[in-house]
């Protein structure tokens, strides 16, 4: 099959960008979307052009490196799928495919389709952890975790940090990402000591970079791991509680 591509090209973070049009010929239906781009890139290099830059690594949907806006949908038309797991059989011969980078001021474009997602790392650094120094842990079975809590924590912990939630959100909000980590850690008994501090600090850092959630739910649809919208409610609830509890704890210092 043959597809027409409209791809965002941008030489650097401060360079102006624009769309370029390419034709990909002899695309096999078995190809993954990124393999199709690999092919276009090889042709670009051989013909003296510059290949299209995009982030990718594991190509099995777990590392979270890849992420393209494909025809106005984060990670493309197949739901519950990262870009690397999208296959060309989803498209038809002659289709025009518009490929854009994630758009968010929290994710500045680096080059072409690659963006800088280190704001996510900063959110985690603000409190997305349980402070336990190596070697100081008690026997793992000393703290029992109800199966339902462990399962719900795992549902939230499945987040791969790709940024599709922000990209898909009309508000550019990062509540699903932040809520997923808060929910994962706040549901577990091990995470209780830092629960309120964690929530307040992570949400405050999130606020600095991203937009405001208005509960449209597009994030959870775009999420390759189907992180549920409930994690946002969890975030909202714990944030408000934290406002009171943290004040109380501080007063007791």
């Amino acid at each position: 099959m043959r597809v027409n591509l409209r791809v965002w090209r941008q030489a650097g973070p401060d360079a102006p960008g624009g769309f370029e049009t390419y034709q990909a010929e002899e695309v096999s239906e078995e190809m993954s979307f990124l393999e199709m781009l690999d092919m276009v890139n090889e042709e670009l290099v051989v013909s003296g052009g510059l290949p299209i830059t995009f982030d990718h690594d594991c190509r099995e949907g777990i590392c979270g490196s890849c992420g393209l806006m494909i025809n106005g949908q984060a990670h493309g038309p197949q739901l519950g799928t990262a870009t690397c797991q999208l296959h060309m059989r989803t498209f038809s011969d002659g289709d025009t495919i518009v490929i854009e980078p994630w758009r968010s001021s929290g994710f500045p474009v680096i080059q072409d389709l690659a963006v800088n997602r280190s704001a996510f790392d900063q959110i985690i650094e603000a409190g997305g952890f349980i402070s336990v120094a190596t070697g100081s842990a008690p026997d793992a079975n000393l703290t029992l975790v109800p199966k339902v809590a462990a399962d719900a924590a795992m549902d939230a912990a499945a987040c791969i940090g790709c940024g599709a939630c922000v990209a898909a959100c009309p508000n550019g909000a990062a509540q699903l990402f932040t809520g997923a980590k808060i929910t994962h850690l706040n549901l577990l008994p091990q995470g209780q000591a830092e629960r309120w501090k964690r929530t307040e600090q992570m949400v405050d850092v999130m606020d600095e970079f991203f937009g405001s959630c208005s509960n449209m739910g597009e994030c959870t649809t775009a999420c390759p791991k189907g992180i549920p919208l409930e994690v946002i409610a969890e975030l909202n609830r714990d944030y408000v509680k934290a406002q009171f509890i943290n004040r109380k704890l501080t007063a007791q210092d």
Partner: protein, 635 residues
């Protein structure tokens, strides 16, 4: 020359005695030491976090945009530990024994025993960090049996154990970053080690965004940069996994051990066309219920449903009645290759064998199969557009893990003082074959529990010495070499892409140094690789500029190092004329065609020293005092 520093005394006491006898760094002095950690996967992130907690000044480096992306994240199955929670007879000694035996007796007893010992602490540590391990209804940790083990010792978090363990280590690292104990350098690739007066004193890196070549000085350098399976081009490794850090260390004097020991995983989805960029692993657990077969007649083009039972060859069940479809990874892989070489391969490219669930669905019902493997079936369906509930899966082996790596002593230090290697980047614990659910265990053991103790022994000597200034000629020269290398690659301006050469190299490696190896093939590879490398340096085209983000340039540097590694792998495979674990030499097999070890000749670690001409072989003899060497049999 090779001093393995294995402590004296009984096996069970070695690690404790060693921890007591090595030098320590006083807590107040730790902040005076700077340590570089390259790579932030399981081993690197856990090491950087722990060293930061201890008070060292740590600089961590990753070429990814975030430490959370390392390929450890892809591990599915689980992590072993000798907890014996299910009370089924497991023990530290049994985990040690299984690992030594599974590695076909090509690893060190002392290292493997220590690995089994600290395995329990890993589970405690990870559970306390909030890793959402699977639980029983009572709230206790769940275990399962994995990879044919006789006991249930595998802890898991759905099919995403690697992800959850990596995120645990990443979060511990994030905490140290927020405390200012670890300085994190993302999108920064290490391109060389700086060695001064025989010791590792720093690294030279390229900032992948700006192209800036930078020098970083430290008292010690820790490499946790993963394995080199991508030398085969197609593997289950992530696209960016590479050997450059380890190879550059090798070129600076660190020995490379057992490079030919590679693990080929039998249940991957066969490639579908020439542009296939990577292979996807399907969990080994599928073989519990799937039956592997090929048509009896070579070149049979009928769809699987039209091939009658009598014309199917369930070759594993036929050859290995006792183990059947559950033979170890290497045996299953090799037999698939034999069938495909006989032109019995199936699928459009004739490059797979069937893994058929029809019997299991008939016996257990579709729902049970969906419950057990639904997720895997979905992945398969998504990738191949074939529904495995109705049509048999097609599978083929693919390169998955590399047991070889930088040679390290008991302290995980290479033979270059001050240079350490952790996780898949070293050679230490898996011998000639790695058992399932052991890679995660080793990475975290090295990073959380071994290196943080052993590194003090080396650092203590240099108390009071500041790190070498980066304007020292050692840094200046290394940096100039890196810059020249890049300028050279950029200047070739040939006509072929980097990927073209990588694919060609991969074909040679797969054909001659893959699942089965023989003398003439390896010799052929040893003549083809240098020729391809020469063509690469004459005709590769690296577009764009070096002073900014340039993914082609990144790949070019990595592929250039893969050529040299590929040659060394073939050389190692050629010299080791026995079969052991993942290394099958056709000349060394039993009359039934099974792998035949030669313990009297090859019971050693081959450690290769770099040389401009031919690599120089050093041998570390392996001594077995606690286990009896036996030949594996699955008949």
């Amino acid at each position: 020359m090779l001093e393995s520093r294995i402590p004296a005394g009984p096996l069970a006491d070695k690690w404790d005695n060693h921890k007591f006898s090595i030098d320590l760094v006083n807590p107040a002095n730790k902040r005076k030491f700077e340590i570089i950690v390259v790579g932030t996967g399981l081993a690197g992130a856990s090491a950087a976090a722990t060293l930061g907690e201890l008070g060292y000044k740590v600089k961590a480096f990753t070429f990814h945009d975030s430490p959370r992306r390392a390929h450890s994240i892809s591990a599915q199955g689980g992590i072993n530990a000798a907890k014996n929670y299910p009370n089924d007879g497991d023990s530290i000694f049994r985990l040690f024994y299984d690992t030594i035996k599974g590695g076909d007796y090509r690893s060190r007893e002392a290292n493997v025993y220590r690995l089994a010992q600290v395995s329990n602490e890993i589970i405690d540590q990870c559970a306390a960090q909030g890793v959402p391990f699977a639980r029983e209804y009572g709230g206790q940790l769940a275990n399962r049996s994995f990879g044919g083990a006789q006991v249930s010792r595998t802890f898991y978090a759905r099919g995403q154990t690697g992800q959850q363990l990596l995120l645990g280590a990443y979060q511990a690292l994030a905490r140290q970053i927020s405390l200012g104990k670890v300085e994190m350098h993302t999108r920064t690739e290490m391109l060389d080690v700086v060695v001064h007066e025989g010791k590792a004193v720093g690294i030279v890196t390229r900032n992948l965004l700006t192209g800036a070549i930078e020098s970083h000085s430290a008292h010690a350098v820790v490499l946790a940069t993963g394995g080199y399976g991508n030398v085969y081009y197609l593997s289950t490794n992530a696209m960016n996994s590479n050997v450059t850090a380890a190879w550059r260390a090798h070129r600076r004097g660190a020995f490379f051990a057992n490079p030919c020991f590679t693990q080929i995983h039998p249940t991957c989805i066969p490639s579908s066309d020439e542009f296939q960029s990577k292979l996807t692993l399907m969990s080994e657990s599928l073989r519990n219920d799937g039956r592997i077969w090929v048509p009896v007649k070579a070149g049979d083009d009928r769809p699987p449903g039209q091939i009658p039972e009598a014309e199917r060859d369930y070759y594993l069940e036929r050859k290995y009645p006792a183990f059947g479809n559950l033979v170890p990874r290497d045996v299953a892989s090799r037999n698939a290759k034999i069938q495909i070489d006989r032109e019995k391969g199936v699928g459009p490219l004739k490059n797979g064998v069937y893994l058929d669930f029809a019997d299991a669905i008939g016996r257990l019902g579709r729902d049970t199969i969906a419950e057990r493997y639904g997720n895997l079936f979905d992945i398969y369906h998504r990738i191949t557009d074939e529904n495995p509930y109705e049509v048999p899966m097609r599978i083929y082996p693919a390169v998955h893990y590399t047991m070889g790596g930088l040679w390290v002593d008991y302290n995980l230090m290479t033979n270059v003082p001050g240079l350490y290697a952790l996780g898949e980047a070293n050679f230490s614990d898996h011998g000639a074959n790695r058992l399932g659910a052991s890679a995660l265990m080793q990475g975290l053991a090295d990073g959380y529990f071994v290196l943080p103790y052993t590194i003090g022994d080396y650092l203590a000597e240099s108390l009071g010495d500041p790190p070498l200034p980066i304007d020292n000629p050692a840094f200046v020269e290394t940096r100039a070499e890196v810059e020249n290398r890049i300028a050279h690659l950029m200047g070739i301006n040939g006509s072929r892409t980097v990927d073209y050469f990588h694919r060609e190299l991969g074909k040679i490696m797969w054909d001659q140094c893959g699942m089965a190896r023989n003398q003439s093939g390896l010799e052929k590879a040893l003549s083809e690789i240098p020729a391809l490398k020469a063509e690469f340096y004459a005709d590769v085209r690296v577009p764009g500029r070096a002073d900014g983000l340039n993914q082609s340039l990144e790949k070019a540097g990595r592929v250039a190092d893969f050529f040299e590694l590929g040659e060394l792998m073939c050389r190692d495979a050629l010299h080791r004329s026995e079969s052991a674990g993942g290394h099958f030499r056709e000349e060394s097999q039993t009359p039934e065609g099974e792998a035949l070890r030669k313990d009297d000749e090859f019971s050693y670690v081959s450690a290769w020293e770099y040389s401009e001409s031919d690599a120089i072989l050093h041998k570390e003899e392996l001594e077995f005092e606690n286990v009896q060497l036996t030949q594996r049999s699955y008949k």
